[in-house]
């Protein structure tokens, strides 16, 4: 008899828990403060984020760009492990983007066609300096329905120096030594601030020169660190190296092979 009562108690407790869970779910889905107008707005979202991270570092005579190749849906579901987020536009311009992949592809197409036309109009390949301005203008044209992309443009500038230009989704442009964008940006930037920007290093300490080898190894470390903690970043590093006077080199390096 006693055991019977016990079972009933457990059954009631499970029931109570289920009821409670359902009530929580209902409240979360339809909170009282949410008016019918707001519910209406949430129905369709033209954007989605496919995760992933990109990063670029520039030095005296080189610029390197890296990204992971994972594409995710809702941060969990892996859509593909071979998504390319780096686009080599010409010998001196590399575009890398994170964000909404549909917009990324459109943006890439727009830039490619502008570069193609520029070749005919001005009988020369566009330099990364000009492309940087062009991209900024193109992003701002879409001020009120922006491309949902965190773009970074890198390459070798007109003076043969490495260049990295960083953008927000509506075209605010900044030339930096290094930049990152995407899901792991908050993890990569502090690391590079420390290692390349030396912002935390006290005065009087030796600041190692940024060589191509050092930049590449820092880049690998950034992505290894990011892949460890950030679930939408992973699978492979797509590494693109542009050096003054040399053709662009592309490499794929596996991430987290454990």
């Amino acid at each position: 008899m006693a055991s019977f009562t016990g079972i009933t108690a457990v059954a009631n407790a499970t029931n109570d828990m289920a009821t409670f869970k359902q009530a929580m779910k209902d409240v979360a889905a339809h909170p009282e403060w949410l008016s019918s107008r707001q519910v209406e707005r949430q129905r369709w979202n033209p954007y989605s984020m496919e995760g992933g991270s990109t990063c670029a570092i520039s030095g005296e005579n080189f610029a390197i760009v890296a990204s992971d190749t994972r594409m995710t849906q809702n941060d969990i579901n892996i859509l593909t492990r071979d998504a390319e987020k780096i686009h080599v536009l010409n010998d001196s311009i590399i575009l890398t983007t994170s964000g909404f992949y549909g917009d990324v592809l459109q943006l890439k197409k727009v830039l490619q066609s502008r570069l193609h036309k520029y070749r005919f109009d001005y009988r020369a390949d566009m330099s990364v300096d000009l492309c940087a301005e062009l991209l900024s203008r193109n992003l701002y044209y879409r001020r009120f329905f922006p491309y949902y992309t965190g773009a970074i443009l890198a390459g070798i500038d007109e003076n043969g120096k490495g260049a990295v230009f960083s953008y927000d989704p509506i075209g605010c442009i900044e030339r930096l030594t290094y930049s990152a964008s995407g899901a792991a940006e908050p993890m990569i930037i502090p690391f590079l601030d420390c290692q390349i920007g030396h912002v935390t290093l006290a005065e009087g300490y030796e600041r190692p020169q940024l060589t191509l080898e050092r930049a590449i190894s820092l880049m690998k470390d950034s992505f290894r660190g990011a892949a460890e903690r950030e679930i939408s970043t992973g699978d492979k590093i797509h590494l693109v190296i542009a050096e003054t006077g040399k053709p662009v080199v592309q490499k794929f390096l596996p991430l987290r092979e454990d």
Binding site: D121, Y122, D129, L130, E133, L134, R137
Partner: protein, 258 residues
Amino acid sequence: MFLTRSEYDRGVNTFSPEGRLFQVEYAIEAVKLGSTSIGIKTSEGVLLAAEKRSTSKLMVNDAIEKISKVDQHIGEFRRYKFENCVTFAGLIADSRTLVERAQIEAQNFWFTYNRKIRVEDVTQSVANLALQFGDDDVKASMSRPFGVAMLFAGVDQEGAKLFHLDPSGTFIDCKAKSIGAASDGAEQNLKEQYHDALTIKEALKMALAILKQVMEEKLNSANVEVVVIKPAVDGKGRPIGEFTRVSNEELDTVITSL
């Protein structure tokens, strides 16, 4: 002038059996009705000199502008700097259309790329317009060829530049060139006197001496307009041109010394 006059000089876009477009050739002749202009390129910059022909004593000569600015922007120290300018011979009203096209194209380039357009590219864009004529009122913007020849002068990243554009849309990179009524005589003089080591001072004297020789009226500071564009450096260390109109006093000094 053409002995084989026929119906073929009526339609602007009909070839004659000998393969000529008479209307275009007539437009080239119209240039010779305009006043004389001279352009001289030196290692120190480019110089444009234009005759301002006044048909009446009652005309205000200062109001005639034979040399127009194509490109301008406000420099670092709020000082105006100009890169390209253009002088023309032929139908003044036609020249307005072409100058406006050049100005728009230069602004467009600056807006898109945040960079000054090259002299050659601005000339090319005007040349494209020069052949957009025809009796079709939908596509063509002009019903006949433009009756103007132009000299484009400026300094860009490639140094001092001088281009000659004729009504057929052909443009040529020149060291020195003359257009307008007395262009044949002036050009003969230029050929004899031009050398690669010219200074701007010498070029100014040469241009005024030639104009004095070929002009019907007596040369004075009121019926000539001279512009000099010298190489300068903008706020970002890029080569640009600095535009100066030679003052009447300076002109008078040179003219009296001739």
